[in-house]
Subunit: 356 residues, 2 copies
């Protein structure tokens, strides 16, 4: 192989090379590829044959510029290493691909400055829309992004009763918390501890309110000192479960506002020599894949992650190119109880663990 042939192998065929081979103008090739303008069937087939023969690929970046829109969507998450996000990201990417877009995952590390830098560098240029998962971004920064022409959709929003400040996909997390509370109360639990994440931005407040409403509906009191406001992590769930059980030995159940702290609670119980669910029941919210893989498998309230991701992409695509619309809220299907092995009837008494 001589040098010229080698160089040719490394360069991409251009639109004009396709046009030359097909004996048409570049504009005609462009029309065929974009299914625009009037092109005779014979010409169309000749162009497609030339495209095939040369292995020509439309230059997405160039096309994006020409059409005034970029071919990617951005997904802002705190960290893709948090086991909740990959399932959402996978579903969002599939929905984006089905609509001809690629997905850029942006990890903010819960740092507003990192998030702002992403929004400034990507929104409206490389990405023409932004999906926001809990990434600790300010509403102001997001509104500025929207005002610059890049629509924003908040995914898995919690407050169904407040008019949203930005378009959002909402989940009835209040009901998720209520379902978890009713499940524990229905099993006879009267002394329940609560792990509520996260302290920093209070995003799990609705879940906790739902849990408290289930207690109130059952005429049951939940003393405030049985609640710990913690980070949304396995480690924080582990440490605070140990602290809660040491402070309140009569607890027979733990309500956790998310699966990660609930999985940490399982580990704490194991390391304290407590049997789950014979000595203590534990319930989470979300149903991440490790909920079914833990031993005992975790009872949880499943939220519709995959359909929320699909709804978020659909809403974002609806908004792209139509700035200035009022913020829309679309609500997912209601969360569902998934009973596994980590919850069971409350023990009759807990004499070995002393008084509360």
């Amino acid at each position: 192989m001589n040098t010229r042939a080698q160089i040719f192998l490394h360069s991409m065929p251009t639109l004009s090379e396709v046009a030359h081979l097909a004996g048409v103008t570049s504009a005609t090739v462009s029309n065929v590829l974009r299914k625009r303008g009037k092109v005779g069937e014979q010409t169309r087939l000749r162009v497609l044959a030339a495209v095939e023969q040369l292995g020509y690929r439309p230059h997405l970046t160039a096309r994006a510029l020409a059409e005034g829109c970029a071919p990617t969507l951005a997904l802002m998450v705190s960290s893709i290493a948090n086991p909740f996000y990959p399932e959402f990201a996978l579903a969002a990417e599939r929905a984006a691909r089905a609509n001809g877009r690629f997905l850029i995952v942006c990890n903010t590390n819960d740092d507003p400055a990192t998030g702002r830098a992403y929004l400034d560098q990507i929104a409206g240029t490389l990405s023409d829309g932004v999906l926001v998962m809990n990434a600790n971004l300010s509403i102001d920064d997001l509104k500025k992004t929207e005002q610059r022409g890049a629509p924003v959709v908040l995914c898995m929003w919690e407050k169904l009763d407040a008019p949203p400040e930005l378009p959002c996909i909402a989940v009835d997390f209040f009901e998720a918390g209520a379902i978890a509370g009713r499940h524990l109360i229905g099993l006879g639990h009267r002394h329940i501890g609560a792990l509520v994440g996260s302290k920093m931005n209070g995003i799990h407040a609705e879940r906790y309110k739902g849990y408290l409403s289930a207690c109130a509906a059952a005429g049951q009191k939940h003393p405030q000192n049985r609640t710990r406001y913690i980070e949304d992590s396995v480690e924080a769930g582990y440490e605070s479960t140990k602290a809660l059980l040491e402070a309140h030995p009569r607890l027979t159940a733990i309500f956790a506002s998310n699966d990660l702290p609930a999985l940490g609670a399982l580990n704490a119980a194991a390391d304290m020599g407590l049997k789950v669910p014979q000595d203590i029941s534990i319930i989470g919210i979300t149903d991440i894949q490790w909920a079914r893989l833990s031993r005992p498998a975790l009872t949880t309230v499943a939220v519709p992650t995959v359909s929320a991701a699909e709804m978020a992409v659909a809403l974002l695509l609806d908004l792209i190119g139509k700035p200035g619309q009022p913020a829309a809220m679309r609500v997912t299907a209601t969360p569902q109880l998934i009973e596994r092995a980590s919850t069971g009837p409350a023990p009759f008494d807990t004499p070995l663990r002393g008084a509360d």
Copy 2:
């Protein structure tokens, strides 16, 4: 707010508006932003003030076109929902960002056609380089991508002794398998079962060879019927551990070529009423985050995931714009044994579990 103001809010300031406000040419603004050409300090400050005042952001897509390179790297994985990939993706994204690039995660779902579609649509246009994790892509498709001008780097390659067909970051997985084997043998285990993933593409062959070499070095035989070739998943590890232990009740340890099947083996032991490590020891390879979070916590051989991701991005950036170089191999630090609670001394005998 009148309509014109509203429209202005939704449009982005242009380079020429910045130039107009600063009283300079567009070329000067461009030079300032790219730190090129000679620009006086007064002029530079005036341009930066105008950029700030108008909220101008360089149009990345336009810049990419002008400079002949796109601002993203593509990462091909089978599925971001496999718990190994998010940690790699997070590290790769950070390394890409530190070099002014964004990362597009492409899930192939282990389908060569999906992978090929991604390569055709993205490589050399939206992305100017491709990182490939185990995504079931053909070497031919990847070589074609490279020949079109988009460099490819194979991440976490396994064969140190063969000249690579494509640039790669290699991990000494043979040694990882040998470390796991020596650990079990050193604890007195003589009857060991092996879970080797994955059947489809045999990517774990080196790990298994390393394990077998440790057996051979200790003068220990590993009968072939104690090995199961399985998918790289928790579920497959669970099912095949049950099958192995039923077929070979005298087994006192399980070597798994990856953490996911090892975690499945832990669950199988728990569900069969076996104590880990008193009745059976289990070891994996990789050290994903769930290895330390499982109960008992999983003993494993840690591979340097984060530094492999950083090395892969660095190699890819070295190759971008320099096609036709011979394929380079860079090797990460050697994997390390992480002793946790899932391995212990072999039991003296296993009378209750009968003959092998």
